[in-house]
Every structure is written in C-alpha cells, then in structure tokens.
C-alpha cells in the first residue's frame, strides 16, 4: 500500500500527470489560433523547451562557478548533468523552432537574433561536453570545463547583442504566411503555455536529477575502486614484508 502511495506522490508520476494534462490542454482544450492555424500549437512545446535550454545554461554556469569557488564535486556533477540535459533541450528547441518557422515564416532558418544566439550557444555547450569527454579525468578536467562553461555564459549577452545588431543590418527574411500576425487567443494561450512550462521544467529537473545520480554512482565506484586497489596493494606489501622478515 505504501508503495502505491509513494508511486502516486513521486515526482515521476507527478511529471507524467502534468505532461498528460499539458498534452490535453494543447490538443483539446485550447482553440486553434486563427492566423497561424494548427501549427501555432507547436509553440506550446517549443517555448517551454527553449526555456529548459536556457535553464540548462544558467544551472551549468552557476554550478561551474560554485565548483570553482567551493571545489566541491557536487557542483561539478550538477553542471555536467544540466549541460547534457540542456544540450538535449537546446537541440530540440532548434528543431521545433525550425519546423514551426517553415509554415509560418516560409523558411526553415533565418538570421534572427534569438535563433543565431541559440545556435551558437548550442555549439558552445556541445564543445563543453566534448571537452569533458576528451580530457583525461581528474580535478583539472573539472576545473577547465567549469571555466569553459563560465566563458560561454559570459559570451551569451555579447552573442545576443552582436546577433541583434547583425539582424538589424540584414533584416531577416520573415515574410511568410503569418509572420506578423498577432495571437487571437489571449489568456487561453497563456494558460497552456504556463502549464506546459511547468511540466517541462519538472521534466528538466527530473532528467538532471537522474543524470546527476548516475554520475554520482560512477564517481563513487571510481573512488571505491581506487581506494580498494590501494588497500589491497598496501595489504600485499604488508604480507610481503612479513614474509621476508
């Protein structure tokens, strides 16, 4: 019985219920937007996913900063977990955005500031993860990776500023079928977007938590193996020393 109750109140179940509700809201409850038509429903997915990607960057840089400051492994694990989940969210935000842009803006991709910024940041954090994969393990890897994450975070406003200035100099091609249309939905749009954001935030937290825990177990196994080998080596030495004396 307690097992059932635990399952019901567990964050995973909560997230599943929320996600289901969100899908119901997106597909059933909210009316179709008149100017963009059905494709506007993509935004209920795209916006929260992009928000998740942004959260990823914030958590990575905060975790990296705290790691450099406190030198506690916890923060490094948090940073790498949210970097990975953030890259997944970021890639999805780019893909869903492109699929939305095709029918609405008539192009898959354009030099709009937010798009450019997202793409560049995506590449920076992919490079962050690759750096971690290629660098020999140890505290130096964690330290350098933390620096890269912070550099990426500091670069973010500069990239956005540059991309913005750039798109002013080259007005992006946004002349598609419903480019300038305003929403005909008003508050119901906000309700669905809010619900969707809440459920994707929860999904983000859950994924980060799972990744964090796997990372933690991996680290602990590594530490254990190292210590254990050391112990057995010491024991061997002792027994050898006894044997010779």
């Amino acid at each position: 019985m307690t097992k059932v109750i635990n399952l019901i109140v567990s964050p995973i179940a909560l997230s599943a219920v929320l996600m289901g509700t969100t899908l119901w809201l997106i597909f059933v409850w909210v009316p179709t937007e008149t100017n963009q038509g059905a494709v506007q429903r993509i935004l209920y997915l795209h916006v929260p996913i992009a928000w998740g990607a942004m959260m990823g960057i914030i958590v990575v840089s905060a975790g990296s900063f705290l790691y450099l400051w406190k030198k506690n492994e916890i923060w490094d694990r948090l940073a790498v977990a949210s970097a990975e989940v953030g890259v997944v969210f970021g890639g999805l935000a780019l893909l869903t955005g492109m699929i939305w842009a095709k029918p609405v803006w008539a192009v898959w991709w354009t030099g709009e500031a937010k798009l450019t910024t997202t793409l560049i940041l995506f590449f920076i954090y992919v490079a962050y993860l690759m750096f971690r994969a290629y660098f020999p393990p140890g505290t130096q890897r964690q330290r350098l990776a933390a620096m890269i994450a912070i550099i990426g975070a500091i670069d973010t406003p500069i990239i956005y500023f540059a991309a913005n200035l750039w798109s002013q100099a080259h007005p992006p091609l946004i002349t598609g079928p419903a480019a300038d249309s305003e929403s005909s939905l008003g508050t119901s749009l906000g309700v669905v977007l809010l619900a969707s954001t809440v459920s994707f935030t929860l999904l983000f937290i859950l994924l980060v938590k799972m990744r964090y825990e796997i990372r933690k177990s991996e680290d602990e196994i590594k530490h254990f193996k190292r210590n254990h080998q050391l112990d057995s080596a010491v024991l061997n030495n002792i027994s050898q020393a006894r044997g010779t004396s």
């Binding site: 599943a16 119901w24 009316p31 100017n35 494709v39 699929i99 419903a178 990744r211 196994i221």
Partner: protein, 180 residues
C-alpha cells in the same frame, strides 16, 4: 526500470490523445465564426472598406462592419499571405476582399457584437482570414513532426541514461560480490 515505466506511460498518453482528439483538433474554434464567400462589399469615397456581406454554405447572409482593430490575413492568387490590421490597410483590404469575391475564395470571419434584425445578422468583424480548414490539413504534418521528434529525442536520451545506469548497476554488483 522506473524510467521506462514513466516513458511508456507518457507515450501511451501522448499517442492516445493525438489519435482520440484529432477531429476536435481540426474543428476547435475560439470565437463565433462564419465560413463562406463574399457576396458584397461597400467602400467609402476613399476606397476604404466599410462593410462586407458573407454568404455561408446554407445561403444565410451576414453583414460585417469593420473597425480599426479588425485584422486581415488574406492570400492572393499566388498564395502570398497579407497580414495587417484595418487601421493600416483599409484600402488594400477592400482590394483583397473584392479579389476574393471574384475568385469565390472561402473566408473565415470571427466577429463580435452580433445583432439580429429580422433574420439579418450584423456583426463587427474582429478577424478576416482565408478559410482555415485547408491550412489545417496541410500543416498537421508539421505538428506531427514536432511532437514525434520531441518525444523520440527525449526517449532516446532516457534510453541512453538507462544504459549508463545498467553499467553502474553491474559494477556495483561486481564490487559487492568481490567484497564477500
């Protein structure tokens, strides 16, 4: 295992909703609407649109007045969509609508403040757009693509984590065995 249960539950909910509610997705509407073709247009001396009359499939006529906040989303024959409000394009609106009248292109009008006077309905148009039905059908593929890609990627990531977890679990059992 927990991860997969969660994933499976989500997948079932997602697929179920999409299959079950596809018709309502297509039909869902927000404000009172009239679908039909334009049968009459009235403009003032400056060629600005004042009222227009729409006939729906049953032949019922509805007269719409326009206000500054009326929005247009109208395509020309080439399929280029023109989107603006009445305030910024009242002449162009008259031109486009008369072109729609000539081509018998169905439009969708959402309206407010409807009054009925001896069977004649009059309302103030809030938006005048090319009929949504066709667009919905052509664009459902995009929605499908987005939802499919999103969930496939999330599940792929969860699967990747599940495999990592398996490796961890295996190593833990190995260590436990070696300690005994």
């Amino acid at each position: 295992m927990k991860l997969f249960n969660y994933g499976l539950a989500l997948l079932i909910v997602c697929v179920g909703l999409v299959v079950h509610d596809l018709p309502s997705l297509v039909l869902a509407q927000s404000t009172p609407l009239v679908n039909g073709i334009i049968v009459g247009i009235e403009t003032n001396d400056n060629d600005q649109l004042i009222t227009f009359v729409v006939s729906d499939s049953t032949g019922t006529l509805t007269t719409f007045k326009v206000s500054d906040s009326t929005k247009y989303g109208l395509e020309n024959q080439a399929g280029d969509r023109w989107v603006t409000s009445h305030k910024d394009g009242s002449e162009e609106a008259a031109r486009r609508l008369s072109e729609h009248q000539e081509r018998f292109v169905p439009i969708t009008v959402s309206y407010s403040e409807a009054t009925e006077d001896s069977g004649q309905i009059t309302g103030i148009a809030t938006s005048v757009v090319d009929r949504e039905q066709g667009k919905l059908e052509t664009n459902l593929g995009y929605i499908f693509a987005v939802f499919a890609i999103t969930w496939i990627l999330f599940f792929a990531y969860i699967f990747y984590m599940g495999r990592k977890q398996k490796v961890v679990q295996y190593e833990i059992t190995q260590i436990k065995a070696s300690l005994k």
